[in-house]
Symmetry: C2
């Protein structure tokens, strides 16, 4: 039996650590947070974030302690220090900020601060008027510590330390005077910096941190099929898609995500509505990748040339958007890989290649890769080169298809390798699977993840799910991207709720999560007919055929989408770092929650009932939100631009599916006196 | 600046692990519990315990998995395997039992079980009647796996595997028949054992486990000063103490703990009531250790000889008790160490040795060791040799004085070293300090710990504190020992509550914690006069003078103590592994809680009001306790031997401080029919 090399014990005992001073190192540093699986995986933050690090730090007896957060760019030798402060019960907190993308490391170091202990004790001695030889010896002890610090200092600091050191033992001065010099406010910080820190203890673990660009946390995605961007049901091209970008940009999205753009297999090609047989004119599913026309590094000939694609990428950039590609690591039976690298696929004993199966279901148009193949290294490298190919064409955002059917170790490796050179890459994990697997993909390096939001409809479900997402350890690694629909998933709530349901889900997605996305134009055009009752498949799904969308249809949710994206951009409380609280509404169908930062409160109220008018009372904990509970305040609906004056903690709301089924309020404090006209900010 | 060697990253990424197969290893094993600080410290259990290990185990896609808990004695090569079972959501559980004291290790290993995946899929294929070349290839695939397993098996198992393997591809048999052979119930377990487990994943961490003897968790301690065991106020001897043991044994204690028995310093010796001056007849504090008469390896000449001590140890053993010694690592100014090893103490710049201080308080009779001394290695070794000296005289239990004023690394080292040779050692940490330091001492190896119980008096305080103690991570490392009093601490509740308060605290200590202790005879004789109102010091404390106790005084709590110890011994639910639940009582002063095991329920009800009769209704969640809520049941007071018939979830209790202020009920299910006389077990 070939077994994995045995696991090793983490963190050896001090006596076995090789540290020659282990017995004298009295400080304990433990329970450093944030920390993911003992430092096995990085914590995720974005550029500009303040990274708060906490730890338990203590020492035997009652000496004074100084503690620091250390951080550095990965690969650097030198640590940067940020001081920590004692909060309560040996728990310390400190922070640092990062302004550049990349991989970082942090840990905590602390030392017994003999000088501060000495000053603290000196104060107490002075209070009771201690004097005599023991007190003189204390003055000498302090003087020596200051001299030692002076020997590491220079310039004015050195001179100052030496002068004070001399004064402490100057026989011509009164003791009280000398104590006065010892208690000079400038000393502790100076001695901290230059004095001895021998016997410092560093937390036995260097914790990794990934700092992404802001779009990793705050993004609005629009997915569309370029092949439907043509006239009528004519096969659309990249050039058609270029024009369509204007429409997407006009609504304020910033990521445009395209399903796979590669040649589609002919072998076992699917027909409309997932039929196993297809006719000669059927376009097939773009997830059945590869044919004689090329594979993962080619574009579908009917979409145009690679240069056309380049122009699409450039046009998106002009519109302040980015193109995200869909990467599905699987092959149609006629993909060139199948002939060139048969050893990358699983075989039956008779030599035939296994298609995808979930017995008794067969997916004969798809050959999955065999990641357990002996040839896994060439396979891994080839798949990496696929991503590199598109990176080289300017694509920085990838939506990865079904990552949970490929090894977690593969993703950790490939994302890690690519982000080293391209820290601005963003990977969205399309994993709709069990929670531990979804979390592991996030730990392995995925920047964002699809979520269960798609099926969380009731108030209780939303509240519980948000509690799960917004607290560590999940919030340190898993960045949700909320999708009300995808080409694969037309949820029952949308099927049955009409336009009001889609509107409600849109507002929920865009306010509960700082990243959200929709599959359009199906979404805004409220195309909610299922292929069959009880399934989540679209009728005449765009996955298998070209659609002719009327984006100017009057019932389109286009205006609401435009408003939502504008509101999100203009209100930083929705950018992902705010505190989220749910509020009592006295109505099971009305959900209300606020995003609260130091200087902004955004309150969202949504009627989950897509069929009936509902009313309730929103309870706002005014004091906790930093409001004066005795004063009136204004809630300003950023969708309709209507303003309401509210008072006290309990205020009436009424939402009608026939009209506006949601409010996004900016809550404004009353800050002016009656002599001003402009009451609110 | 001398800095500690930099911390290292725990758990390298797979690609950096040196594992040549990292890319093919698809299983993830994470979140293994129990786990203390990522495996830095051992989990604590006692002999006979079943150690339940849980983990998240999953794989990409949907292959079948087999997972095992591995364990071994520390130092052994070979792992023992215990199968795990899937509980829910990729969470697995397994267990193993340990029957010998010592240090162990455990981890979790899992592999993709290709054979079980194949059988699961075969069942589904068979259900829809798949056949033809692909099905034949499947049969062949299964046959090959069975052949591979056969090649590792022998005897009947080998033959059986080979026979089945042949049958699967036997052209003379119908397919359904061959499928029948493939689904034989004996196969999975056989192939699990002999089949390929290449590409197994082991959790990247070996977790340590300490298995102690049962007394580590379940013990009743009695502390007394041997020097008070003589006639009147004559200095008692070990011989007097031998006689006193009969009294202690008669009450059912199992650990007899003696304050330090070493020579006491003459220099700055304390007088009665902690006076800084002492007269020539004053005996001093036995914690001021060492004089010209000897140090930590000597006995006080007035107590007798070391041979007398040996006899005391032997006599305790005859009475099924053990002597526990108090080890206080500090010196009187005239301790031999001070002259022999001045470098083990801290000095002022003028060369004088620093006595213990907490400015402005001075403890001139005590010189603490300087654990930061350059000579720390000889110091560490000498202190270890002190413990070894007493171990060699048959002492296996040590109460360590103020361990939180010595380095945590020292304790981890010294306890680790000694327990390697003497796994039956028990160390009780007398640390009354902040929670993180108390927890760290427990992690460092202390077997039991003093607690805040001494000051937890109200129902809410007790409930909250028990919640803290009985849940991981604390419950995995910290074994509480509840003391209602100590020679240093006479809590206000005892000072003000008279006999009823002492009785209540005794019952609480002995039932809330499987280890408890009292400082007697002060405790049972209800000696509760403080030296001064507002302090917790005893008036005329035994710490500084010899006491003449009248152990036969009628108000003694001796009988209650005897009953409590008997009840504890006879009811395994009080031995430390039971589930503890607090119950509503409809009275703030009445606390009720049950200890529940598979076959025992012990219900304790205590009146916390030491002055007034109180009554209430105890709510028992009968169904959760495994009782039939429709039937009567009996509660049998094990203190008074009274029996009550209760019915339903809510039953009346009344407790009077003037009489019995507590019940310890055995709850007995009604298990016989009306034809029997003996209704209850």
């Amino acid at each position: 039996m070939t077994e994995h090399t045995d696991a090793t014990v983490n963190n050896p005992r001090p006596a076995e650590s090789g540290d020659v001073d282990w017995g004298r190192r009295r400080i304990v540093v433990e329970a450093v947070t944030p920390q993911v699986d003992g430092g096995r995986f990085p914590v995720k933050r974005v550029v500009g974030d303040s990274i708060v690090v906490e730890a338990d730090v203590f020492v035997d007896s009652h000496d004074a302690i100084s503690a620091f957060v250390l951080h550095r760019r990965k690969g650097e030798e030198q640590w940067r220090e940020s001081p920590m402060e004692l909060i309560i019960n040996d728990h310390w907190s400190g922070s640092f900020r990062i302004f550049e993308m990349g991989e970082y490391e942090y840990t905590v170091r602390a030392f017994v601060n003999t000088f501060r202990s000495w000053r603290r004790d000196l104060t107490k001695r002075a209070e009771v008027g201690q004097k005599g030889p023991e007190m003189e010896a204390e003055m000498k002890a302090g003087s020596l510590m200051m001299e030692e610090a002076a020997s590491n200092a220079s310039g004015e600091e050195k001179d100052f330390l030496l002068m004070q050191a001399r004064r402490l033992v100057d026989e011509n001065l009164y003791l009280t005077e000398r104590i006065g010099y010892a208690l000079d406010d400038r000393l502790p910080e100076l001695v901290d910096r230059h004095g001895s820190r021998s016997l410092a203890t560093t937390f036995p673990g260097i914790l990794p941190l990934t700092v992404d660009r802001e779009r990793a946390r705050f993004s609005a995605w629009y997915e569309f099929f370029p092949r439907s961007a043509g006239k009528g049901t004519q096969h659309g091209t990249f050039k058609d898609a270029e024009k369509f970008l204007d429409y997407v940009a006009s609504m304020g999205f910033d990521v445009v995500y395209l399903p796979p753009i590669h040649p589609i297999g002919f072998d076992h090609r699917k027909g409309p509505n997932n039929a196993t047989e297809s006719g000669p004119d059927d376009v097939g599913s773009c997830w059945a990748i590869g044919s004689s026309e090329g594979g993962h590094k080619s574009v579908h000939p009917k979409l145009g040339t690679i240069e056309d694609f380049d122009r699409l990428v450039a046009r998106a950039r002009e519109l302040h958007m980015e193109i995200a590609l869909d990467i599905a690591f699987q092959c149609a039976p006629d993909h060139p890989y199948v002939k060139e690298h048969p050893d990358w696929f699983r075989h039956r004993p008779d030599g035939t290649i296994r298609y995808a199966e979930n017995p008794p279901k067969k997916y004969q148009d798809i050959y999955p890769f065999d990641f357990e193949t002996d040839a896994w290294r060439p396979l891994y490298n080839e798949l990496k080169s696929v991503l590199q190919f598109w990176i080289d064409r300017g694509v920085k955002i990838f939506r990865i298809d079904n990552p949970h059917t490929k090894p977690f170790a593969f993703w950790e490796w490939v994302i890690g390798e690519l982000k080293q050179k391209h820290p601005d890459l963003i990977f969205l994990a399309e994993a709709f699977t069990k929670p531990r697997a979804m979390e592991r993909l996030a730990k392995a390096g995925f920047t964002q993840s699809y979520t269960y939001f798609t099926w969380r409809n009731t108030k209780w479900e939303l509240q519980e799910y948000m509690r799960y997402l917004t607290n560590p350890p999940v919030s340190d690694i898993f960045r949700p991207n909320f999708w009300p629909n995808t080409p694969d998933i037309l949820p029952e709530y949308l099927q049955t709720g009409g336009r009001a349901a889609s509107a409600a889900r849109l507002v929920l997605a865009g306010t509960l999560s700082s990243s959200y996305g929709i599959y359009g134009p199906a979404f805004e055009l409220v195309d909610v007919a299922p292929r069959k009752i009880g399934t989540e498949e679209y009728l005449n799904s765009e996955k298998y055929e070209i659609k002719d969308w009327d984006i100017d249809a009057p019932h389109s949710l286009r205006d609401l989408m435009t408003a939502l994206n504008r509101i999100r951009r203009e209100n930083t409380a929705l950018h992902g770092n705010a505190e989220l609280r749910f509020h009592e509404t006295e109505c099971e169908e009305i959900v209300a929650y606020s995003h609260h930062t130091a200087n902004q409160i955004v309150l969202t109220v949504v009627n989950l009932d897509a069929h009936h008018k509902r009313s309730g009372f929103v309870h706002l904990p005014l004091q906790e939100l930093g409001m004066d509970p005795r004063r009136q305040y204004q809630v300003h609906d950023l969708i309709t631009d209507k303003r309401f004056l509210w008072h006290g903690e309990r205020n009436y709301v009424e939402l009608d599916p026939a009209q506006d089924n949601a409010h996004i309020f900016r809550v404004r404090r009353h800050i002016r006196s009656e002599v001003d006209f402009d009451y609110f900010l």
